[in-house]
Every structure is written in C-alpha cells, then in structure tokens.
Amino acid sequence: MSSAAIDHAHDHDHHHGPAKGISRWLFTTNHKDIGTLYLWFSFAMFLLGGTFALVIRAELFQPGLQFVEPNFFNQMTTMHGLVMVFGAVMPAFVGLANWMIPLMIGAPDMALPRMNNWSFWILPFAFTLMVSTLFMEGGGPNFGWTFYAPLSTTYAPDSVTYFIFAVHIMGASSIMGAINVIATILNMRAPGMTLMKMPLFVWTWLITAYLLIAVMPVLAGVVTMMLFDIHFGTSFFNAAGGGDPVLFQHLFWFFGHPEVYIMILPAFGIVSAIIPTFARKRLFGYDSMVYATASIAFLSFIVWAHHMFTVGMPLAGQLFFMYATMLIAVPTGVKVFNWVATMFRGAMTFETPMLFAIAFVVLFTIGGFTGVMLAITPADFQYHDTYFVVAHFHYVLVPGAVFSLMAAAYYWLPKWTGYMYDETLGKLHFWMSFVGVNLLFFPQHFLGLAGMPRRIPDYALQFANFNWISSVGAFLFGFSQLILLLVVIKCIRGGKKATAQVWEGAQGLEWTVPSPAPYHTFETPPDPSLIKAQ
C-alpha cells in the first residue's frame, strides 16, 4: 500500500459498509464481523465436540463394548474436552466480547483491529491441525484433555507433536485476543465511561483477559516441556532423570484452574446484564459484583492443586489448597445472592434469555455446591476421577457457561440482526435443553458416588441404569441444539423488526444504537449523558 492509498483508505474507511463476498470475512477488521466469525466458529465446534460426546454416550448407553474400540473412545473423550473448552466455549465468549464490548463502552472498534482478525483466523487452522490428528496413523491424542505425563509423553501416539503445536498457536490466538480486550477496555472507553460505570460484562471480560494472559503462557510452557521430553530427551516428567510426573500436573493446573474461571466469569457478566433487564430493576450491588469477580480471579491462582488431591501432596499442601478452594464459595455466593436480590421484588417477564439466565443461576449453583464438596479433601478421595466430577463440571459448564451463551445469543440477536427471533421456538429450545441437560448430567452424580470412574468405555453392571438415562438425555439435549440453529437462521432472514431498545428494561449504550447495529458505531463518542451507573 502506498501512502496515497492509505490516505484514500482513511477518507473512506468510516463511511462505507462491509465488503462484498468472502473477502469480507477473510480480511475484515470490523469488530462486529470478527465477533460474528467467532460465534459461528464456536457454534460449529460445539456441534463437533457434541458429536464426539454423543459417540461417548452411545458407547456408554449399555455395558459391554458396542461401537468403538477403547483406544478410540479415549480419543473421543480427549477431543470432546479439548474442542468444547478451547473451540466452543472460549471462542464464543471472545465473539461476544468482540461484538459487545465496543458497543457497551462507546468505542468505534477494538483497539487493535488487524490483530483482532489474526486472533480469529489462527483458530480454524489450529483446530484443523488438532482434529486432523484423529485421522493420523496411530490415532489422535488419547490421554484426556488434561494430557497427564507420561501418558502424553513417553506413551503418546506420534500425533501428540501436532497436538502440542496446535495448543501453541491456539494459545497465541488467545493471548492476542486478550491483549486486544484489555487495550480496548482500558483505552477506548467513551468520555464519561468510568471504570465503575462499565457494564459488568465488560468488567468480567477485563478480568478474564487478565487471567488469560497470565495462564496461557504457562500452558505454552508446559506443552513445550512435553515436546522436549518427547523429542529431545529431557526429563522434566521422568523420575529416572530427576524429574517428576506430578510437576506436569502442577503446571497444567496452574493454567487449568484459572481456565475454568475464564469460562465462567464472562458468563457471570452476561447474566448480570440479563437479569436486571427482565426484572426491570437495577442490579442489587454493582460494586460488590466487581469486587467479587476480582476476588474470584485472585483466588483462582492459589487453588490449582485441588485437582491433585490424590497425587499424594504433603499434608500442609493438601490443607492449604482445600481451604483456599473453599473460600471461592464466598465471592461466588455474593454473585448468586446479588442475582437473587435483583429478582426479588422486581417485575419479571420470562422471555427466552431470562429463562436461560434463571436456569443458569439455579444449575450453576448446583454445580458450585458439588464443587465445594469436591474441595473437601478427604471426601474428594472418593469423588476424584469419578462421574461425580464429570457431573460437577458439566453443571458449571453446560447449564452454566453454555446456557449463558444461549441467553446472550437470544438477548442480543435482535441487536445483531435487526429482527426479533421466534419466541415460541426459543422457549421450546429452552425447555428441551433444560429437561435434556438435567436428564443427562443429574444421574451422573449417582454414578460417581456409586463408584463409576471417568474415562472408561465400559462399566460394571450396577451402573447400567443411570448410564442409560444419561445417554437418552444426551441425545435429547444434543438434538435440541439444532433448534437454536433454526432460530438463528430464521432470525437472520427476517421477522418482526426490532427496535433500538429491544427489551423494555434494557440499559446501556448498546441499546442506544439502531437494530441492527450499523457496521460502524460510535465513530464519534456517544453523548456522556447516556452513560449511567449500573
């Protein structure tokens, strides 16, 4: 580009709409386009990861080996976890961040638009590399999404090398995305948008981005050590050379635990936006919500070894990690109580986003309760690596993180497309999901308590009944998600025109721009009087 061309670009850039054809999506620097890309990508990954889950549930429908070999089963478990965590949930939140943060803080775009495009476009390549390992000789990663050494080093299939590099570039994408979010929030707020006036979704993302930058490099570090153990003969995770397999777990969980909050903090932000809207009442305690989020983030760095209570840490370590983990219940409780207090004596209506948000509050809390149970070290000796843990984390992740994403999709769809979605279909989607998800994961608590280990393709006969129910729930829940696809496609193609405000009780800058939000918004800062405290 010559500088003449640059001047030209500058003159016209802010006035024209999106480019035509595929190049709009490949080369875009527009936060809304990139947000859309992220959201579609994550939905595709959700279906893919879900399909893997259905393979798992089909195999576990009955005792005995039915459909897949144990080795392939392990690949399914691994890929399901990886794809859902890194491909579905995280990118979905980044997509929402892209779409909504500039709109919420009155910024013209993300701070670093070109890098924004790069963060996204690395992902399809990273996942192509990762998923392609399934077709490689020797099979794909089969060591669980937590890839404990030495199963993932000395005993791994050859494709582990590609897995490692896929994690590397995916991590680079996350870090760039997070840097962009932070720079945007700290630097791009409209005049008058003080930190303590920011919507909670922005706050939770600011803290999430900080967590991402703090822990993704540690993940990169640990996979790098694996790479060297595998190909260059180092002995980080091998006692024969003075290393320790448990070192792997410490490093992994130093990343892994904050990672689970990375998947839930933005969800808290979404729910904190939706509940006041449909309760038509101000959020009960904005400040305490901000402090609670920060406390959770802080605590998330000092609890990692609660995933490792059975590795035989010294007693003092066990106790420390138990106490620290239990403490997280306090700030999380503050959040839950705030939501309830917001609904208390409000004037509620129950459109689809609100239904998902309420279900989130209830079911996430149930997942939180089992989390506290897991934190009790001696009890965790019984729960660890059983379906009780599987039930715990699916409750916080599926009716937790994923429901919040559904809620967000319904909440903002009119703003994105300019049309109202089909409320009947939305409600149908909600109720099928709600019934399905509980049928799917509630019985897993019993399975775990009765002694069914996780990551097994076949099980003893006393686990047969609940597995059967769980599998039925899985298919019900899974296929219900196609309704969402239908709703979104219908909504893009038309429907009742949405107003700017969309929801009667909605507050915030995003509701001051027309629906659909124009391609470029807030090229000039919004009127400061529009910015109100939450």
Binding site: M1, S3, D7, H10, D13, H14, S23, L26, F27, T28, T29, D109, A111, L112, R114, M115, N117, W118, I122, F125, L129, Y162, H168, I169, A172, I175, I179, A183, L186, N187, M188, A214, V215, P217, V218, A220, G221, V222, M225, F228, I230, H231, F232, G233, T234, S235, F236, N238, A239, G241, G242, G243, D244, L247, L251, F254, G312, P314, E523, T524
Partner: protein
Amino acid sequence: MASESSHSVYYVPEQTKYPFFASIGLFFMVFGLGSVLNDVSAGDSVAVSTWIALAGFLLLSFIIFQWFATVIRENHAGLNNDQLKRSYVWGMAWFIFSEVMFFAAFFGALFYIRTLAVPWLGGEGEKGLAGEVLWPEFQAAWPLVVNPDPTLFTNPHEGLNVKEWSVSFFAGYLPFWNTVILITSSVTLHYAHVALKAENRKRLLQWMFVTVALGILFLALQALEYVEAYGHYGITLDSGIYGSTFFLLTGFHGFHVTLGTFILIVMLLRCLKGHFKPNDHFGFEAAAWYWHFVDVVWVGLFIFVYLL
C-alpha cells in the same frame, strides 16, 4: 493530522490481507516443524517437512515484515492519533506480561524440581520414601550430576554453577561476564534512548550500535558456553533434569535475546533512516522495554541457575 483534539477519529484500518495469510504461514510452519520432529523420531527423511516448515516460516516472516512496515507508514502518514498510540503501548505492556508468565513456568519448574522432587528422590523430606524404596543409590544434590537412573539419562561430568565465591573465580566465569554484558547493554540502550529524546543523532547511533554489539557478544559467549557444556561438562539436553532445566531456561532466554537483538538491529536501521522523533518513537521504546525485560530475566537466571 488526526491528533489535534483528544477525541479525534480512531484509525480503524481497512480490510487487511496480512492476518489471514499470516495464519496460513503459521499453520505450515508448525505443521512442517511437527513433521520434521516426527520424521526424525521415526528415522524418515525430513526433506519434505523441512520445506513445508521453511515455506511457512518465510511466508509468516514476510507478512510480519510487511505488516510492521504498514503500521510504520501509517504512523508517518499521521493516521495514528494519541489514543491509538496508547493502544500500542498497552498491547506491548501486556505482551511482555505474557512473556513473564512464560518464563515463570520454567522458573516454577526449576524451583519445584530443586526444592521438592530431587530431595524426595534422594530420600529426603516428607515424601522421601521414594528414595528409600525405589532409588536407594541416589543422592539428592544440585547441580544434579548423578541421575536417579544413569542408564537412561547419562550423567553429566559436573555442573556449571558457581564453585567458589572469590574474585579470581568470577574473573574467569563466563556467565558472570555475560551478566555484565547484558546489564551494560541495558544501560547503553538507555543512553541511546536519552540521545533520541535529545535529538542527538550521532550519539543515538553510537549507543545503538554498542547495544547491538553487546547483544551479539552475549549470544556468541552463550554459544561458547553451550559448546563447553556439551563437550567439556557433558551437560546435554538428555543428561537428566539439570541439563533439561539449564538448557530450556537459558535456551529460551537466548532465543529471546536473539529476537531482541534482531529487533534492535531493525531499530538501528530505522534510526539511520530517521524514523523516530523525540515525541514519537514508540517502536523504539517497545524494543527497549523488550530488551530490558530480557535483561531482567537473565538476572533471575544468573541468580537461580548459576549462583544458587
């Protein structure tokens, strides 16, 4: 041109082809690299994989180069207002934080190994049973020169750590001189920055040149040390955990110095071209931050890998 008022228009670039093609380059680079490693392990020919990796790398490098060039051009064209410049500042600051955490992982591993794992294997501490039952012969020590199982991980002959605290020892101790060199380079770079702000072009170039030279000298000495380590000391990547931690910590540091030196060379060239103005030289500052960061990491390394 755009930065008179504090809320002038934020420069949102037009469509860009760079990121998409950079992703393709990145993909082929890592795919090729992975294939090279697997080929080596399988004893196959690495020719094809190497070409793939190289092609990816070249594409990626080419695009990054173009990308930066565009950013620089835009800045010269006055498209960047103060706000956008602040975005770059935040971007760089948080990028360095991510690098800090990357090194933290390796330092953490070192501390864990030294204070917990090795003593346990040697029969000491709360979990010393491991040593008593499984490694009765093994003695915990650091530098670890006798591995728990020397048949699997060949022992190094001796460690590289400081052996005595005397002037005569340090005078002949290469890592010590590397510390001096790197710290000096941070100081010279600072002087360059001062000269830049004072619009003293000659000084700027002189100090920049010295800094780059020191960087290269550091790398050369580091290479020398590696040769020594491999040859004389028998410390290799596969000589047990001492070599593992040593090479990964110093290696990644060395890699960062290499990158930093390269960036400084680019900055030197840009100084020659007169790109920087006293009030507008964030590219230079970012490079300087990076260099200081690399310096700080080295100080940590010197203390925890060599001294203690």
